[in-house]
């Protein structure tokens, strides 16, 4: 995050009137700044039948950023999440995650990339029922190759980080919605990924729990985590330092609030 990017804010280009797409390749790429964790160039995703979910999306996410990918349903933001999360491949354009060109990777290498570099948080938490919070978090390291004892030790640390040190042995049905989502966040960050992708993380929560989850994400970001929150909720998006607005498969707005409004987040962004 930089002042330079703040200057590129398209004032008033909200989801309602943002019909004017950002010209492809029109952004100046960040020059000597931090190496991007995510770099999308001209990414297009077409489904069989000719439906284009994404049309020439360019997106850079630098290390330590906290951004919202916001758009109404059907805008292509979920497809964007899948492509950034390497769960899906684009039909055109290039995707680089942590310096790896995704198109060049086999399924095994892509899986390894997800295991080591990307953490996912889902709207519906998706914890394993009947298994303790700690073991649920440790599941996030299952495919990392670490021995079981290490996985469990790190899971305990991660739960401590999300403020659930006293809920290690609780099973999902013994936790509130907000606590479940925090367990899910702990599972996503336990492997210290380069990128945390949160898909509507507050969608299934009441406002107080949602607030706590957002605070937690802010906190993790201030500790250095790069986080992308996918949401349809403009209010949530507005509270994050950078908003990428998607509409009809195109980025219609990419910018942040005035830095002086959010001094804390601006400072963290290095």
């Amino acid at each position: 995050m930089s002042l330079r990017r703040a200057e590129r804010t398209y004032e008033g280009a909200g989801p309602g009137d943002g019909v004017e797409p950002v010209p492809a390749g029109g952004h100046p790429r960040p020059g000597p700044g931090p190496r991007p964790v995510v770099r999308l160039t001209g990414v297009t995703k077409e489904y069989p039948g000719g439906v284009a979910a994404l049309r020439g999306v360019d997106l850079d996410v630098g290390e330590g950023e906290l951004l919202a990918i916001v758009g109404p349903s059907g805008s292509g933001k979920s497809t964007l999440l899948h492509i950034v999360g390497t769960l899906d491949r684009p039909t055109a354009g290039t995707v680089e995650i942590a310096g790896h060109d995704v198109a060049a990777l086999s399924d095994r290498k892509l899986s390894a990339l997800r295991a080591s570099r990307i953490g996912f948080v889902f709207q519906a938490f998706h914890l394993v029922p009947g298994v303790s919070a700690r073991d649920n978090v440790a599941e996030g390291l299952l495919y990392s190759g670490l021995p079981r004892a290490v996985r469990r030790a790190r899971a305990a640390e991660a739960l401590d980080r999300v403020g659930l040190a006293d809920r290690m042995r609780h099973r999902p049905h013994e936790l509130s919605g907000g606590q479940k989502q925090r367990v899910a966040i702990a599972r996503a960050v336990v492997g210290e990924p380069d990128l945390l992708l949160a898909d509507e993380p507050t969608g299934a929560l009441d406002s107080a729990s949602g607030e706590a989850v957002l605070e937690l994400l802010h906190g993790l970001n201030s500790e250095g985590a790069t986080i992308a929150v996918i949401t349809h909720d403009g209010q949530i998006a507005d509270r994050l330092p950078r908003q990428v607005r998607i509409r009809d498969g195109q980025v219609v707005h990419d910018g942040g609030r005035a830095v002086q409004d959010v001094p804390a987040q601006g400072a963290v962004a290095r």
């Binding site: 790896h100 996912f120 495919y143």
Partner: protein, 404 residues
């Protein structure tokens, strides 16, 4: 480019340890115990049937062999051969017992001599009604050679063998209606006192159907000529072969072809072998049950994959490779059928034990049957799980994540 944290490193998918594979593979089973029990049941029934069929026939065979072992396979019987030419019937010489007892390796020798007489309950019964019971003269050593014993009363000896006393085989006693020693039977033209009834003699069924008198009494009272008609000989186990070669020549050096030597244990051995040959039909039924069980496991696995699409998507997002998803579901299928196989082996062994206990048989479940049964379940589990596992692995992670 500086070697900072985000410099691309080599990406290598980590391997799951066997313990992790077992853990992941069993997670689906642990959350649905009832379904596990029901789908493992089919496999269990198939394996139980097969193990029980093999076990029951093996137990029956073991019992016969045990009996055979007790009776010994070292007894030979010599009898006059068939007459090659019309004329005089061949006979064993009177001193055949003495001759055989001098053969090296022979331990005990006994003989019977057929008397052309009938035995009846009383003189009122017509002579023709023999009841299939033969009257024979027997030497004192006969019972020892046959390893028989009397069920009641005493056996013939030098004293009672000279008097009109008689020992009945157990079939003969039943047919005559004699239940205890002391009763009398009519032989030829006088009453003989029953002094003993024999226990069953599996190696000599003809003795079971005979009335036996002493050698001396037969000569003095029933006109016996003293030529034995059957000669029973027992030798050391390792000498049987040699004795068999010498037996005919020892009894009748001038015409050994007139002596027929047989091994009664051979018939019992053959019977044991047929008992051991399990029913192919029942085994086939077990095989069909096993097949149906395998289809059930495949069905359960397909449903499991459909239901757990979201889990598959989640695991893929956590970094599971296609191979790791595949092995998870194959492991689950293997565990499911393995569980059924284990239960089936236990059930089959228990059924065999119940059968053995009811029939007083030894309990035998052959190891090869257990191994083969268990191996079959593992093969079925692999085959049944492979297709669902491949489907699970091919599932697009994004579609899987959308399923919920």
């Amino acid at each position: 480019m500086t070697a900072d944290r985000t410099q691309p490193k080599r990406l290598r998918a980590a391997r799951l340890s066997p313990r992790d594979i077992a853990h992941v593979g069993s997670s689906g089973l642990r959350s649905r115990p009832l379904r596990v029990v029901l789908s493992a049941l089919g496999i269990a029934i198939g394996i139980a049937t097969m193990v029980a069929v093999v076990g029951v026939s093996a137990s029956s065979k073991a019992q016969l062999l045990e009996k055979l072992d007790k009776l010994g396979t070292n007894m030979l019987v010599a009898a006059p051969g068939d007459a090659l030419f019309s004329g005089e019937e061949p006979k064993l010489p009177k001193d055949a017992v003495g001759r055989v007892s001098r053969v090296e390796g022979v331990e005990d020798v006994g003989a019977t001599g057929d008397l052309e007489r009938s035995v009846r309950r009383s003189e009122k019964i017509p002579e023709g009604e023999t009841g299939g019971i033969a009257v024979k003269a027997a030497t004192e050593d006969l019972l020892k050679v046959l390893r028989g014993r009397t069920a009641s009363g005493t056996w013939l000896n030098a004293a009672n063998g000279r008097y009109p006393s008689i020992v009945l085989g157990h079939v003969a006693a039943r047919r005559l209606g004699i239940t205890s020693p002391g009763q009398q039977v009519w032989v030829d033209d006088r009453y003989f006192t029953v002094i003993g009834i024999l226990a069953p003699l599996p190696l000599a069924p003809d003795i079971e159907r005979s009335a036996l008198t002493g050698w001396a009494a037969a000569k003095s009272l029933l006109g016996f000529d003293g030529h034995p008609t059957s000669l029973y000989e027992r030798s050391a186990d390792d000498a049987v072969h040699d004795v068999r070669a010498l037996l005919a020549a020892s009894i009748s050096p001038e015409s050994p072809r007139d002596v027929k030597v047989t091994d009664p244990s051979a018939a019992l051995q053959a019977k044991a072998d047929t008992e051991g040959a399990f029913s192919t039909l029942l085994l086939g039924l077990g095989g069909i049950a096993l097949l149906v069980g395998g289809v059930g496991v495949a069905n359960t696995m397909i449903i499991s994959v459909l239901e757990r699409r979201y889990e598959i998507g989640l695991r893929r997002s956590l970094g599971a490779t296609r191979g790791q998803i595949r092995i998870q579901f194959v492991t689950e299928s293997l565990m499911l059928s393995g569980l059924g196989g284990l239960a089936g082996v236990v059930l089959g062994a228990a059924a065999t034990a119940a059968y053995a206990a009811s029939g007083d048989l030894p309990w035998v479940v052959p190891l090869w049957a257990v191994t083969a049964g268990f191996g079959a379940t593992l093969a079925i589990g692999t085959v049944a799980g492979l297709y669902p596992a491949v489907r699970a692995a091919r599932l697009s992670p994004t579609l899987a994540l959308h399923a919920a």
